[in-house]
């Protein structure tokens, strides 16, 4: 049974100009799968992520995460659902400036009233796994981008959510740190069975995934599965991207605001 099921999802932004961001999009993500979603700017990637993470409403269609239909929940249940079942990784890290690395890590657990000793244990485990032990008492403004993103990944992993949503996690990082972060994510998926949906522009990032889903103008365009060698997978991703017809600058690893 798939963990995430998207069926005919449609999102229309009303306004002076009605804009159809997602149009009858359907796909499924299996338990433990690491999925990349790619597409040119304006193809609806971020909207898709917002719709899955339940911070935006649906115009039509159906979303199921695990056994839950998040759109059937009320506001409070929805908050609790996000807190327990979802983990987030953002392009700009999304760390709280006033908290230390350690406090940022435990944040999802404190909200859920987990006993203090269990929290402390989990922090140490996660910190060790992500090599954050030395910087636990620093603040986000005092650490590097790579460390910040590792902290964010730690925060997304600490409460063992069923689904992790990553929005351009390597967008603000240099190529070396990007590789570290991606290896951490794919490791989390492979070794610990975490299910990850990652939106990205970067074909290198996509080549770390199990499957790449391409969307264009809010509709399904293509999908490819990884093979034994990352190098050839990367080539195939590039091939599909050229078919997508975007221009090359659109696909650069550095996205200008």
């Amino acid at each position: 049974m798939p963990l995430l099921k998207i069926e005919d999802v449609t999102k229309v932004y009303e306004g002076k100009v009605t804009h159809r961001a997602l149009n009858q999009l359907s796909f499924e993500v299996e338990q433990g799968e690491f999925l990349a979603v790619m597409g040119p700017s304006g193809s609806g990637k971020t909207t898709l992520l917002n719709v899955i993470s339940t911070v935006d409403s649906l115009t039509g269609g159906y979303v199921q995460i695990g056994r839950t239909d998040p759109y059937a929940l009320d506001k409070n249940e929805l908050a609790l659902f996000r807190r327990r079942e979802l983990g987030f990784v953002f392009q700009d890290f999304g760390l709280l400036e006033m908290l230390t690395v350690e406090e940022n890590l435990v944040l999802p657990l404190t909200l859920d009233n987990v006993p203090t000793d269990r929290m402390a244990k989990r922090v140490l485990e996660v910190a060790k796994q992500l090599s954050l032990t030395g910087i636990l008492h620093k603040r986000p403004s005092e650490i590097s981008g790579g460390e910040a993103q590792r902290t964010a990944i730690g925060r997304a992993l600490i409460h063992e959510p069923s689904l992790i949503l990553a929005d351009e996690p390597t967008g603000n990082l240099d190529s070396k740190t990007s590789r570290d972060v991606l290896e951490l994510l794919s490791d989390a998926s492979r070794a610990r069975g975490a299910t990850i949906v990652m939106v990205t522009h970067d074909p290198v990032a996509a080549s770390y995934c199990d499957r790449v889903l391409f969307i264009k103008d809010g509709e399904f365009f293509n999908e490819i599965y990884r093979d034994d060698r990352r190098q050839t997978f990367y080539q195939r991703v590039l091939n599909v991207l050229s078919l997508l017809g975007g221009n090359v600058n659109d696909l650069s690893a550095i996205r200008l605001p």
């Binding site: 409070n76 406090e103 009233n113 402390a120």
Partner: protein, 641 residues
């Protein structure tokens, strides 16, 4: 778009962040203008109550001017810091420093001119209202609204000079910064959580010491303490906000069981940052609020004196004649005539006062006759004396004196009459200063037996006649006996000799009451400016942090925080900002009033506790309303998409 248009639009478009600052400036200008309207009023004479009003308002204008200067200086500093990124960008785009200085100067002057204009318009609009209050307080016949260039010119020049000064100084604030510093927006890089433990402990220690000193103050040490305590408490407050608070918070943070629990992690960490960022502001707000509380509280406590006045002065009019009987009777008749002309009911009781020397202590003792005393006591509705031969009543106003008398027998030396059983009379009849403390009521028999004149004073035991008037409508007597009052004032200033004493408690009461009410009016307006300014600091800090807070809350919502939890977090970090300086100021004022009570006890044995409670409770209610207003707007802004 010309350069001036650019500056103008900058101000217009950031009107929301300028709002509270602007409001406080306008209010300050308005109050200043209203005082000026009084000061230049053509019907104001430089005498009596009006002189007091003139001086009070002039002093208030000076205080306002100096306070507004500092308030604006601090606010402008904060504004420029908040906008430093914008300035950095402008300089990166090629604006010269001179142009930037000119821009800041123009913007400040625009706000200044608009505040002055608005303040004067509102001031003129409300002038009639305040002139009416002033007229009522000073019981003037007429104090009409008038139009003259003087108040306008004074206000305009005072505040124009102030804003020019501020603009020039604020230009220097930014000119010394490098572009990169501006772009980063870090002027004073207040690192969160940094504190020094010795300073933190010193803060607590100083606070405790100043409170202990204030609580333990005695009559003999009060003047020394008024010099020692305020500076000590000010330093203590500064250390408290810059070090002690952060020390306490870090102690709390070390207790993970309490700290890592639900929303506390976020709300306490966030409060800690806000408290650190605004430590200096909190210090200023605390001091300003304390001064405002004390001003209004002190003036309100003067009002409590007028409340006690009747108890100490039960008689309507008092006339003492030392000279010939005819003069006394003429004056008494004149007073009766005046009372009748005013249509006031009264009862006149002339009391013959004799004087003797006590054999034991060798002090003079004034004596009253029982029958006459009972007449006045009856008129005042107080119990009559019932004395037998050898008994006496002591009407000393001081309780310890009365007790002393009670213990001993007394021999009146000249007439050799001995008295036992001297009981104190439980009510005040005569004001303390009109008859000596050694005053006794004798039975009629004993009183008649006193016939020897006191040693070396006169040839008669009777030294004067006390004309006591009981007037039920005692507050209406203000104009009665004006001729006598004037004669007495003349004798006082020119050193002439008069052989009578006249007192009109109704008039004194009116004078006390109106001058205190006048001072209270002046003080409340100044205090209102102070508190509004303190409130605007808080508003401004909140507003400049709004963008950052919004991002943070959006993130927290996404991470799965519920609306209720969000409200809780907002409450937990707004409450300290509003009420921490407030509470400290309240406690400061509380202890200051303990000291004030000691001073006050010296010349009017009355308690100011009730007045203080009312004043402080009133301010607290206002602050709570302000808190709800701001929280409502803040939550609305946070949740706006």
């Amino acid at each position: 778009m010309t350069f001036r248009q650019f500056a103008f639009r900058n101000v217009l478009r950031s009107r929301r962040s300028y709002a509270a600052f602007f409001l406080a400036s306008v209010f300050s200008v308005m109050v200043f203008f209203i005082y000026s309207m009084f000061i230049f009023h053509p019907q104001f004479r430089n005498e009596g109550l009006e002189r007091l009003a003139l001086r009070g308002m002039f002093a208030a204008e000076l205080v306002l001017y100096v306070f507004t200067l500092f308030f604006l200086l601090y606010s402008m500093g904060a504004f420029l810091q908040a906008r430093s990124k914008e300035f950095g960008l402008l300089m990166q785009l090629g604006m010269t420093r001179i142009q930037l200085g000119w821009l800041v100067f123009l913007e400040t002057m625009i706000i200044g001119m608009v505040s002055i204009a608005a303040g004067m318009i509102f001031g003129f609009a409300f002038a009639k209202f305040f002139l009416m209050i002033g007229r009522e307080l000073m019981e003037m016949d007429d104090l009409p609204l008038y139009f003259s260039w003087q108040p306008f010119v004074l206000t305009l020049f005072a505040f124009l000079s102030l804003f020019v000064l501020i603009s020039v100084i604020s230009v220097f604030f930014i000119r010394t910064r490098r572009i990169t510093d501006l772009l980063r927006g870090e002027w004073q890089n207040g690192r969160t959580g940094s504190y020094s433990r010795p300073f933190a402990v010193a803060g607590v220690l100083f606070l405790v010491i100043s409170y202990a000193l204030a609580a333990a103050v005695k009559d003999s040490t009060v003047y020394l303490m008024t010099i020692v305590i305020p500076p000590l408490a000010t330093v203590a407050t500064y250390l408290f906000f810059t070090h002690t608070v952060h020390w306490l918070l870090s102690l709390y943070k070390d207790r993970k069981d309490a700290y890592w629990r639900q929303t506390r992690l976020v709300s306490i960490a966030e409060s800690a940052v806000k408290l650190k960022e605004s430590a200096h502001m909190f210090f200023i707000v605390t001091i300003v609020s304390t001064v405002a509380f004390l001003t209004v509280g002190t003036l309100a406590s003067f009002m409590s004196y007028t409340g006690d006045f009747r108890e100490h002065n039960p008689l309507g009019l008092i006339y003492l004649s030392f000279g010939s009987e005819e003069l006394g009777e003429t004056h008494a008749a004149y007073l009766q005539q005046e009372l009748a002309a005013e249509g006031l009911a009264y009862e006149l009781v002339p009391l013959t006062v004799k004087q003797q020397t006590s054999a034991e202590a060798g002090v003079a003792v004034q004596l009253l006759k029982e029958q006459e005393f009972n007449r006045i006591a009856g008129a005042l509705g107080q119990p009559a004396a019932d004395l037998r031969k050898g008994e006496a009543l002591s009407i000393a106003s001081d309780e310890t004196l009365a007790e002393q008398m009670e213990e001993q027998d007394l021999l009146l030396e000249e007439s050799s009459i001995s008295l036992e059983n001297i009981d104190p009379y439980p009510h005040a009849v005569f004001p303390a200063h009109s008859l000596g403390d050694n005053t006794l009521v004798l039975s009629d028999e004993d009183f008649l037996a006193v016939d020897e004149p006191p040693a070396g004073l006169s040839d008669n035991a009777e030294i004067f006649t006390y004309y006591a008037f009981d007037v039920p409508a005692w507050t209406e007597t203000a104009g009665v006996g004006e001729v006598l009052t004037e004669r007495m004032a003349e004798a006082q200033t020119e050193g002439g000799d008069i052989n009578f004493y006249f007192e009109n408690p109704g008039f004194s009461y009116y004078w006390f009451k109106s001058s205190f009410a006048l001072l209270l009016l002046i003080g409340v307006l100044v205090a209102a400016v102070f508190l509004l300014a303190a409130g605007s600091f808080i508003y401004f800090k909140l507003y400049t942090g709004l963008e950052r807070d919004r991002k943070q809350y959006a993130l927290l919502i996404r991470l799965g925080m519920t609306q209720q939890e969000l409200r809780k977090v907002v409450n937990r970090q707004l409450i300290p900002q509003f009420f921490l300086p407030w509470t400290v100021a309240l406690v400061h004022s509380g202890f200051a009033f303990v000291t004030l009570q000691t001073v006050w006890d010296e010349f009017a044995a009355s308690s100011i506790f009730l007045e203080m409670t009312v004043v402080l409770a009133g301010f607290t209610v206002l602050q709570i309303l302000y808190f709800y207003l701001i929280r409502w707007r803040y939550l609305a802004h946070l949740q706006a998409p």
